[in-house]
């Protein structure tokens, strides 16, 4: 049994003539067992290989191969006198190198005992007579183009249905729409995985355009299932929030620390669950540090929004930037520190109020040939 999984040099030569160059001989491990047992291949068996049609690697088939590989691995371990339970892949490689020493320079040409799963498209795509199974094989991207054909035929079906409805006089624009808000299209990488072949970005754009065209027609809910197959649900944004860890200091008071940034200001806030409502900024009272009402309102904003104004004690440090950006940095830091004292629903309301998003607006650079970021020099006709 172990021998069946070992690639033999003879079968490599035998299969070369029939298969495409990408097809590594290692596929022999997963394909016909008949072939992998033999040293040299007769022409009759060569035909047998290709006559079966496109390989159907079902789950049972793969499982059976995995089981057989395990049995072979145990036999090998017994042969080498080692423990069959803890026989890793490196041990297998070492044992095969010991049992079948090879002087070949190409490492990939040496004997190998490994389970390798090849993507579907590397299986044989044509029959015994050399004719490919799929009618779009010569396009090079058969599954992509067959998908586009299927999509277009669905569009034509919908149009025919519309014409029938119009003929009967039952045509109406307000049919049930497919709800698309909570899902997104497959990315190009995901589509490649689905189709098992690479597509270019132009191809991907065309695919999305055709899908959008399908969705723009009134009776598109006929093909709802088909469309939803190519969409992935978007998960709720609240799950991606980093909540700071609340700690307890020596007096037993719960506190949490967090940072915030806005423009060029950096701030750090320690929120203590004391019950006093005092705010200290860089060692000073907040009334001294922020004489402007608007900045103090911004400091209070997260606490007032949740209704927890008098409960917490804030010890803030802030540096850089101007008056308003320091206040904004502090607001972000306070909101983040407050997250650890709130429930999930309250965290979500904070997020929807815009308190947890760092403001990405920064000063726009001055461009050459202009006086400022936007202002151009005075336009002179001559």
């Amino acid at each position: 049994m172990a021998a069946s999984c070992v690639r033999t040099v003879g079968s490599f030569l035998g299969k070369c003539g029939n298969c495409s160059s990408s097809l590594n001989t290692v596929t022999s491990q997963l394909s016909r067992q008949v072939l992998s047992r033999q040293i040299c291949v007769s022409t009759a068996l060569k035909k047998n290989l290709a006559a079966g049609g496109p390989e159907k690697f079902t789950v049972e088939f793969i499982q059976k191969q995995v089981e057989e590989f395990d049995i072979g691995k145990r036999h090998l371990a017994n042969m080498m006198g080692e423990d069959p339970e803890n026989f890793t892949q490196e041990d297998i490689d070492r044992s095969i190198a010991y049992l079948f020493p090879s002087g070949l320079f190409e490492k990939k040409a040496r004997p190998l005992m490994k389970l390798i799963f090849f993507p579907l498209h590397e299986a044989v795509q044509w029959g015994a007579d050399g004719r490919p199974f799929h009618f779009l094989f010569y396009t090079g991207k058969q599954s992509y183009y067959s998908l586009m054909h299927k999509l277009y035929s669905k569009i034509l079906n919908i149009e025919k249905h519309q014409d029938r409805m119009r003929a009967k006089g039952l045509f109406s624009q307000d049919t049930k729409e497919i709800s698309l808000d909570t899902s997104r299209w497959l990315t190009k990488e995901e589509l490649e995985v689905l189709l098992v072949e690479t597509i270019s970005s132009n191809n991907y754009d065309r695919f999305i355009q055709l899908m959008e065209r399908l969705l723009s027609m009134p009776y598109c809910n006929m093909e709802e299932e088909f469309v939803l197959h190519y969409r992935r649900p978007l998960e709720a944004r609240s799950k991606k929030q980093m909540v700071p860890v609340p700690e307890r200091d020596d007096k037993g008071v719960a506190f949490s620390t967090s940072d915030g940034r806005r423009k060029t200001s950096n701030s750090s806030v320690v929120l203590r669950d004391c019950g006093s409502g005092r705010i200290t900024v860089n060692g000073q009272e907040y009334l001294h540090y922020f004489p402007v009402l608007q900045d103090r309102e911004q400091l209070m904003f997260p606490l007032q929004f949740m209704g927890l104004l008098g409960r917490f004690d804030l010890q803030c440090t802030v540096s850089g930037g101007g008056r308003s950006s320091q206040a904004g940095a502090l607001r972000l830091a306070i909101s983040r520190a407050l997250l650890s004292f709130l429930s999930e629903g309250e965290q979500e309301t904070m997020r929807q109020a815009g308190l947890l998003t760092p403001d990405p607006r920064v000063r726009e650079r001055k461009k050459p040939g202009q006086e400022g970021a936007r202002r151009k020099f005075t336009w002179k006709k001559r």
């Binding site: 909570t182 911004q298 007032q304 929004f305 815009g354 998003t357 760092p358």
Partner: protein, 229 residues
Amino acid sequence: MAASLSGLLKPWTPRVFLVRWSRYNPYYLEPEVRKEAYSQPESELSAEEKEQRELKMIRPIKAAASGVTSSVFSDPVLSKFINMMMEHGNKVLAREIMTQTLENIKKKQVEKYHKAPEGQKEEIECNPYTIFHQALKNCQPVVGLESIRKGGKIYQVPIPLSDKRRSFLAMKWLITECRDNKHRRTHMYEKLSQEVMSAFVHEGNVIRKKNELHKMAESNRAYAHYRWW
């Protein structure tokens, strides 16, 4: 709907720079700051509101502006007016003028209240915020005029205005009128409070300007069909 999500959440510069662009990806939604919007359980516009809520759960939200809070004292109309009055980024001064204006309005109304006979005391409005809002509403034009070129000649065609445009015009007229047409030695807050009080009772220059615009639009009614949008 965007395909790859991680690229959408970073601070963003567009590939083609349009004239008006922002550092937020267009994927982001506007934040809702008022507390009342989150306390409604299930008794709202069922389909639309629920869809809106679903969307808000999925999409990222922009940061709240720095002039806006959830307290009862912050007013979006008032914030807009303060921003319009602000010059060279001096928000402190603009806000100061606004608070002085409201204080002034309140003083005058309270004086009138105390001088009024018993029967008329209830009719005098003392809340400066309601007076300000009502005055702005009174100043808003209903239709506007647009210059449309047809056959070589330019006609002033009456067109409907959106809500935003109407409130913008009302605020703009108020500010320009106070800046230009008043005596230069009076303070801005005095000028503003006088103008707001007169707009509240449908008098004053701003109301007159609005009425003139309406008359022009009425007289040019014949050209209304020149509008193609």
